[in-house]
Amino acid sequence: MNMTNPSALAKEFIENGMLKSFKVIDAHTHMGRMDGTYVSKANADEMVEMMDKTGIECCYCSPHSALHDTTIMNGELEEAMKKYPDRFKGYYLFNPNYHERYLLHMDDILNIEGYIGMKFLPTYHRYPLDGANYAEAFEFADKYGLVILMHTWGNNDPHNAPRHVDMVASKYKNLKVIMGHSAPGELDNSIEVVNKYDNVYLDLCDIHRHSGIVDKMVEKVGADKIVYGTDAPWYDFAYGIGSVLFSHISDDDKYKILRGNAEKLAKR
């Protein structure tokens, strides 16, 4: 049957298996194999293959090796950005449990081509966003207007709930915060925080899959404050694109979410 969805972009995706009007930017990705899931495409080369297949221009990325290995730190990311400078932009993973080590190399963000900011993973690192070991990283990011992709989760998470983002954003006005996942379980609180601060954004990663979420986000915060993210290579780029294309919002808003906002965020 013919769908009643009037979106030209949705029709374009159905016809081509990808968007043709513009290339998508994914603001929340990783790289490499990981423990919880079997993935058939995961390293930088394989991700580029999948990006080409689905019309993804660029991934803003923090590899699993950076998230969970404090020895290699951000090495895999830097290699990928060197090999594919237009396809991967980087979040410098900062682990607050080894903050001195990460602070030592912080200037890499300014000196190595491709970095756009930092990645914080408080729940997994068991360290709260408002803890002292994050302070210098926040100050650095604020000084240079960097993007921070911070994992956020609801259900009253003790490390990275919306209330933690609120505390951070009230202090740092120049950095740009992407609330990774938009704190599932506390989306309403995330919306409140995003509406309170000009420099805080919602992220579609994971949460987009639920019925009506994209519509709700656009209605409550506007399309200018939402970025498309997928957690790739955990998840397929197409699923998240579909959540946007089959939502009840305009194609202009879809463009902002799938590309425009991320493009603006990465500019210093």
């Binding site: 899931t37 079997y38 993935v39 297949k53 259900n155 309403d188 639920h210 979420i213 955990w234």
Partner: protein, 260 residues
């Protein structure tokens, strides 16, 4: 291309919504639900979904019998909606004995069943459900199962009933291939609902190993939306014949083999 959604919910959940992130891990977030069939149909129209096999959410939130009644009531509003019912142990509720249940199913156009064993405090094993599950095997009646309380339940059920047709649905956000590849490999009647099949390149990798007849398109609405699974299927860029099988052909075949 024709789309038949193998599993969608109508009705308001007691909690809006209890979402499976992966087995044993729930997130509670507010989704857009379809209180009545009309709202689900409107969303299906919007996304180009022709038909759906539905259940009423009170089947899980309230009780199976009430949920079955509500499912049939909503499905009766459109020939695009097909009811599925939940089951309970016949030893306590005789209406689920095959000789009572199957004529009721036939009368109400029900071709597939669902079970929520832990929620309803029973085991989906031979001791508890032997007669019914044996009869379902004989009649090719599919059973929708979710691993939301653990995959062991599905593994154990299939060990005892290897010919049972099982459609695995609502398996959560994380990739579950390490669980369901072995089941698909071992049991010829196990199918995977694509609604939660988000893992990168998942559909392509799956079909390269098991062919294109073991996946069935689903939305898992309202825990998931329709657009994600639709775009994942188109984005896989499988050949058109394979896409059509997954989108509607496989579920049509499965249901056509039901002998009631």
């Amino acid at each position: 291309m024709k789309f038949i959604d193998c599993s969608a919910g109508v009705g308001l959940g007691v909690v809006n919504s209890e979402i499976i992130n992966h087995e044993n891990y729930y997130v509670y977030e507010k989704c857009r639900q379809a209180e009545f069939a009309e709202e689900l149909l409107a969303e299906m129209d919007f996304c180009g979904v022709d038909e759906a096999f539905i259940y009423h959410r009170s089947m899980y939130g309230s009780c199976v019998q009430f949920g079955n009644e509500m499912t049939s009531k909503e499905a009766a509003k459109s020939d695009r909606l097909h009811p599925t019912w939940g089951i309970l142990p016949p030893i306590t509720e005789n209406e689920f004995a095959p000789e009572v249940l199957f004529p009721q199913m036939k009368e109400n156009g029900v071709k597939a069943l669902r079970a929520f064993p832990l929620k309803n405090r029973f085991f989906l094993d031979r001791i508890t459900m032997g007669d019914l599950l044996d009869a379902m095997c004989e009649k090719n009646i599919p059973l929708f199962l979710s691993p939301q309380d653990g995959w062991e339940l599905i593994f154990n059920t299939l060990k005892e009933f290897p010919n049972l047709t099982v459609i695995i649905t609502n398996y959560g956000l994380w990739g579950s291939d390490r669980f369901f590849y072995p089941l698909v490999n071992a049991y010829k009647n196990v199918y995977i609902d694509t609604s939660d099949y988000q893992v990168i390149n998942g559909i392509v990798d799956f079909t390269s190993k098991f062919g294109d007849e073991r996946l069935v398109f689903g939305s898992n609405f309202p825990m998931d939306n329709h657009g994600g699974p639709i775009a994942t299927l188109y984005g896989s860029k499988l050949k058109p014949e394979s896409l059509e099988k997954i989108a509607s052909g496989n579920i049509t075949r499965i249901m056509s083999e039901v002998k009631l």
